[in-house]
């Protein structure tokens, strides 16, 4: 497990909580219609 944590930290990625990651992703992607979820809208 320690080696996995190290691999993450050394990957060059910014390590954040998933919620923080989601907000970054939300800024980067536009709303889209995915066919299997289209009925929700």
């Amino acid at each position: 497990m320690e080696n996995c944590f190290r691999a993450l930290v050394e990957s060059g990625k910014r390590i954040v909580t998933v919620r923080e990651m989601i907000w970054e992703a939300r800024m980067a992607i536009a709303p889209q219609t995915v066919p299997e979820f289209a009925s929700i809208a």
């Binding site: 996995c4 993450l8 990625k13 954040v16 919620r19 980067a28 992607i29 995915v34 979820f37």
Partner: protein, 265 residues
């Protein structure tokens, strides 16, 4: 590609997984969380921990979850009962599973969770609708690779002696997810909000390899680290999933109680 990475602990208690009686000292909430905290401290990071609402009926578990939240970790919702066919259940059953756990977690840590992950990645459009109606910001329940099938087969084998759980595995209806779902984050727009979907990280290619800690135990660590490196290079957003069993040893299991985790042997 740099981007972002996070660590998600799906806090499946051993009581839930193996039917240990209520009140039994559960190492998932004790040794596991101590080890998780020590690792996070050592590397200077904070993770996301998804709790099963029913587990929080135990006072010591609530105290441990509050401690985690106080230490800066995000606390998310992993459903009330951890039914492994959640995505196939009725809307009302799903709503109960999400809301009961939501309020229990909010009551425990003082903040409502905004992230959800379904038990055993059992998802459906109906569940997305429930999450949006409950105000959730994101979900990480999609498993967008054919590895889902052997995973569920193994899941069924693990529950051969628990007929009710076995029936739930067989009741799943999300068999098309691996071939129909995006492997990149996407948004689902509902009437009352938007849900961001963050699928499991998968390497590129038609037989993309899902990367989470369990793959190291199954396929060996050399392959695991290679897949992990590939997925981190290929994915802007990398969510690394771990489970309590990854941080346990056989000596942590209460004496005389069974488990079906080869990794502990």
């Amino acid at each position: 590609m740099n981007g972002y990475a996070g660590i998600s602990l799906h806090l499946d208690s051993l009581g839930e997984a193996f039917g240990y009686p209520d009140g039994l000292y559960d190492p998932a909430y004790h040794q596991v969380l101590d080890r998780f905290q020590r690792l996070c401290d050592r590397f200077g990071i904070r993770g996301s921990v998804y709790a099963i609402g029913r587990d929080l009926q135990d006072r010591s578990h609530r105290s441990r979850l509050r401690w985690l939240a106080h230490n800066g970790h995000e606390i998310g919702n992993h459903s009330w009962s951890h039914y492994i066919n959640l995505g196939s259940m009725s809307t009302e059953e799903m709503r109960f599973e999400v809301r009961a756990s939501h309020f229990r977690i909010a009551d425990c840590i003082g903040t409502a969770p905004t992230g959800f992950v379904a038990p055993a990645w059992s998802f459906s459009p109906k569940l997305a609708k429930v999450l949006i109606s409950c105000g959730y910001e994101y979900d990480t329940s999609l498993f967008p690779t054919a590895l889902l099938y052997p995973f569920l087969f193994k899941n069924a084998l693990n529950h051969l002696n628990q007929p009710r759980k076995l029936r739930r595995v067989l009741d799943r209806k999300d068999w098309a997810v691996p071939v129909t779902t995006s492997r990149d984050p996407f948004l689902i727009e509902g009437q009352s909000g938007i849900l961001l979907m963050l699928p499991m990280p998968v390497t590129r290619g038609p037989l993309g390899m899902a990367v989470w800690h369990t793959t190291g135990f199954v396929f060996g660590w050399r392959r695991h680290f290679e897949w992990m490196r590939q997925a981190m290079e290929q994915r802007q957003y990398f969510n690394y999933v771990i489970h309590p069993a990854d941080l346990l040893g056989e000596e942590d299991i209460p004496s005389g109680f069974p488990h079906s985790l080869e990794r502990l042997s």
